[in-house]
Amino acid sequence: MKITKKEVEHVADLARLSLSDDELEKMTGQLDTILSYMDTLNTLDTSQVQPTTHVFSVSNAFREDIVQESLSQTDAVKNGPLQDGQFFQVPKVI
């Protein structure tokens, strides 16, 4: 086994997903198959290879700190599932 049910549960928790028992069972099997396949990568010696995370070198794209027009507060919160026109509302945090 590449991955156990307990590990899938832990990963789901990190990703803020809750899985039903059925989902957990199915996902564990599928993830196990997929991760076993990923082992093909281990047949390659990459000890001397630099990783590529971006094809072109990426540097920070700075801009001048100039005040510009932006979304109005009303437009910015408009899509909020719960909002009062000014603020997003969420369940009590503290």
Binding site: A12, R16, L17, M38, T46, V55, F56, P81
Partner: protein, 485 residues
């Protein structure tokens, strides 16, 4: 010829000469949409009123001599590109009611040139899939054969163009999502070089791989769309400052002396013999037209699926963290704590494939597994990139199949994700290496399903790909096949 059957370039000619108005053309496309949508399911949202008012505006602009380069041309847009005031679902329940307050840069480009946006088209949820079957709002159908997949993830884009609902569409390609559905539906689709086209307003799936591109019925139309969407954008930090040529200029200049590479690894076991025969005929055609055919090797191709299906989910798991029910989209209102709100919102809002990829990605990035999975895959990505760079020392462009088979039946592979991932083997590498690629219609199988031919080129050499693609289109002499819808 009915207006909806016109290509972009033909429609522009007719509108410029006064034979046709944009309102007539747009109405013709909208009527076609009404006719075929019940069977094809390409659209998630049709914006009839918006389209007609844009068409009226386009006609007025043309009348006063201020026509943009797409003035009055109706197009569809994949539903993960932000359209101001028009619902943008990404094919997901979690964004079922999301209305963006801004336009993606590419949408802005199209509007500035007078393009008319008909609506938003179906896709795999968050572009994760190869058949569009994970779309939460209906599965687009292949117009060539009942019960067959359109491909994905830009399935709605490909279907809308192939079935004459519109002459062009914008899709996105993270691992083949433009080229593969284009191939399976028999249209032209281009994935530009990474950084060529702005990603601002493109909902992120895997940020180092995603790229927006056009799907059209001709290479000429594709070149025109590329002219409009390409270029540096300060709002996309990975946009590349690179001159944009006029992609339409050299389309007909032929392939004489062009070195066309045939990568041996793309013609291995599992490649359907009919698909192979079609691609081989494409190679012969280019040879007859004066191209020099060279054998090349991309030895790490076999590792692309494993590397991609670690890197893309890893990036996705981070990108999709934003869907938490707080700021936009679906929220489970029953939850009484913040943590439960996150968990329940995401568990109800996301479909199975998205959850699977979030889990793989989170696992590959998690403490203790990062080196073994994510880092390893990123090192293999370097090897894949090096393969291409070496091959382009001996050729100008690569020719190959796009998928190992033509379209398959809806519902196959639905319980076992790995075989479906494997079917992406011929398209993933271009994304890992950031290269431009295109699908050009190559022919039909005996069953009547279209098969595309893939062309890939060095970074920022879309012109060469378009030139070779245009040559294939002109010289392949495809039988005139009509849809029966």
């Amino acid at each position: 010829m009915k207006p909806y059957e016109l290509t972009i370039v033909q429609a522009l000619q007719q509108m410029d000469s006064g034979e046709l108005s944009s309102v007539e053309l747009t109405k013709s496309c909208l009527a076609r949409i009404d006719d075929v949508e019940p069977e094809l399911c390409a659209f998630i949202t049709v914006d009839k009123d918006g389209a007609l008012s844009q068409a009226e505006k386009a006609d007025k602009q043309r009348a006063v001599g201020r026509a943009g380069r797409l003035c009055g041309v109706p197009l569809s847009i994949k539903d993960l590109l932000s359209t101001r005031g028009v619902k943008t679902t990404c094919g997901s329940k979690i964004l079922a009611n999301y209305i963006p307050p801004y336009d993606a840069t590419v949408v802005e480009n199209i509007k500035q040139e007078g393009g008319v946006i008909l609506g938003k088209v179906a896709m795999d949820e968050f572009a994760m899939g190869s058949t569009s079957e994970t779309c939460a709002f209906g599965v687009p159908r292949n117009p060539w054969k009942k019960g067959y997949v359109a491909g994905g993830s830009s399935g709605g884009s490909a279907v809308s163009v192939a079935s004459y609902e519109c002459p062009g569409s914008l899709g996105s390609d993270t691992g083949g999502s433009i080229r593969q559905p284009a191939s399976l539906c028999g249209v032209v689709g281009m994935k530009p070089t990474y950084g060529r086209v702005s990603r601002y307003g493109l909902t992120a799936f895997a940020s180092s791989l995603d790229q927006v591109g056009p799907l059209c019925r001709t290479v000429e139309d594709c070149a025109l769309m590329m002219n409009i969407i390409s270029g540096y954008d300060k709002r996309d930090s990975t946009s590349v400052k690179q001159d944009v040529p006029d992609f339409s200029t050299h389309l007909n200049s032929g392939v004489k002396g062009l070195k066309v590479g045939v990568p041996a690894e793309y013609f291995t076991d599992g490649l359907d013999s009919e698909v192979e025969a079609i691609v081989r005929s494409g190679i012969d055609t280019l040879k007859k037209e004066g191209a020099e055919i060279v054998e090349v090797s991309l030895p790490h191709t076999q590792y692309a699926v494993a590397a991609y299906y670690l890197i893309a989910p890893a990036e996705a798991s981070s990108n999709l963290a934003r869907y938490d029910g707080a700021l936009y989209g679906y929220r489970d209102m029953e939850a009484d704590s913040l943590l439960d709100m996150y968990r329940q919102t995401r568990s109800i809002g996301f479909g199975a494939e998205v959850k699977r990829r979030i889990l793989i990605g989170t696992y590959a990035l998690s403490s203790g597994y990062y080196d073994a999975y994510y880092k390893k895959a990123s090192q293999v990505r370097t090897l894949i990139l090096d393969d291409f760079q070496k091959s382009f020392e001996s050729c100008d462009v690569l020719i190959s199949p796009i998928t190992p088979t033509a379209a398959w039946k809806i519902g196959e592979n639905s319980d076992d994700p790995l075989p479906l991932y494997m079917s992406d083997i011929l398209t993933l590498s271009a994304n890992l290496a950031g290269l431009p690629g295109m699908s050009v219609p190559g022919g039909f199988t005996r069953e009547g399903l279209p098969v595309g031919i893939q062309l890939q080129g060095p970074h920022f050499q879309e012109e060469i790909i378009l030139k070779a693609g245009s040559c294939l289109e002109r010289c392949l002499d495809l039988p005139a096949k009509k849809l029966d819808i």
